[in-house]
Amino acid sequence: MDRNAILNELKKVLNPYTENKEMLNGINEKTDLIKDLKINSANLVDIIIDAESQYHIEIDFESAEKMYNVGNLIEVIIDKMKRPK
């Protein structure tokens, strides 16, 4: 799965947590979840859990801390998908 396909799927993962649908539609790898999409930080763990379910991966504590923007989120997902659970 390439980065672009993951980016498009992430729109569905992020959708319940942002009101800014126009911005969500146009996200790129630099989009910041809190500053740009105005996602409440209390939902960050929800997003990690939803991404885990979507891609059948486990995201550990250390990886989770990098996931504040879309590019890093894609990076972590690709990295975890390469490894067997």
Binding site: K38, S41, A42, D46, F61, E65, Y68
Partner: protein
């Protein structure tokens, strides 16, 4: 450098069931913090409240630190909570609180210590029926810290953002008259401006669901000026947020 950090968690906006799942709370609480919950003092506290209490402390500490370490990334695991003390007067079945501001009467507050790398902070938290609010400080004494919580009619980012600024500025205006407004630095923390002049008042803002919250610091120079201005006023005795410091 003096800073402040706060957080609010709206308990009706969290997913209780999900909070209780290991894969959720293990991304917030370290093993030692999970073990702390089994102390007898927490016997009456629902686990989801414990998780979100600790979250609010970690988030508050992060916001405090962001002013000092601008490139810091929020990492709940690295901010470790120690020594949580429950309030001496635990309020059971307290009705919904729609507005609350600190007065220096700490008997209703959870307190404790929180560590990030070489930084040590202290926290005060209040747990109400509908919300958990926290403020952190670099000193055990919170005499210079003002903080408050208010319920708002509508959820949604833009409404919350406007409401929290109005709430904060109303409180600040009682100390600093004039046309104050809130701006954000590129790093993302708020600053208070009077016209184009930076007031150098450390502030922190938080919102979640139907609740907004602020914290700010009154430094000794601010207090001196306020005292001079209100020297003859009857209310000067309890003029600061914390009545003990009036």
């Amino acid at each position: 450098m003096k800073s402040t950090g706060n957080d609010i968690v709206a308990l009706r906006s969290i997913n209780k069931q999900r909070t209780g799942q290991f894969r959720f709370y293990s991304k917030i609480l370290s093993t030692s913090e999970q073990a702390l919950y089994h102390q007898p003092q927490f016997a009456e506290m629902p686990f989801e409240n414990y998780v979100w209490l600790l979250w609010s402390v970690k988030e508050s500490a992060y916001k405090y630190l962001k002013r000092i370490i601008p490139n810091l990334v929020f990492s709940p695991a690295k901010i470790v909570i120690q020594d949580i003390k429950i309030p001496p007067q635990l309020l059971i079945n307290e009705p919904g609180v729609i507005q609350w501001e600190n007065t220096g009467h700490d008997e209703e507050l959870y307190t404790g210590k929180v560590i990030y790398s070489s930084h040590i902070f202290y926290f005060q938290s209040k747990i109400s029926k509908d919300w958990i609010a926290t403020v952190v400080n670099d000193d055990k004494i919170f005499d210079n810290v003002c903080w408050g919580v208010q319920s708002i009619a509508e959820e949604g980012y833009y409404h919350q953002s406007k409401a929290v600024r109005t709430f904060l500025l109303k409180k600040l205006n009682s100390f600093f008259p004039g046309d104050l407004h809130v701006d954000k630095t590129p790093v993302g923390y708020p600053v208070i401006l009077k016209g184009i002049q930076n007031m150098h008042i450390p502030v922190s803002l938080a919102h979640h669901g139907h609740f907004v919250a602020y914290s700010f610091i009154l430094n000794p120079a601010h207090k001196k000026n306020i005292r001079i201005r209100h020297q003859s006023a009857l209310q000067s005795q309890s003029y600061f947020c914390n009545s003990r410091s009036g």
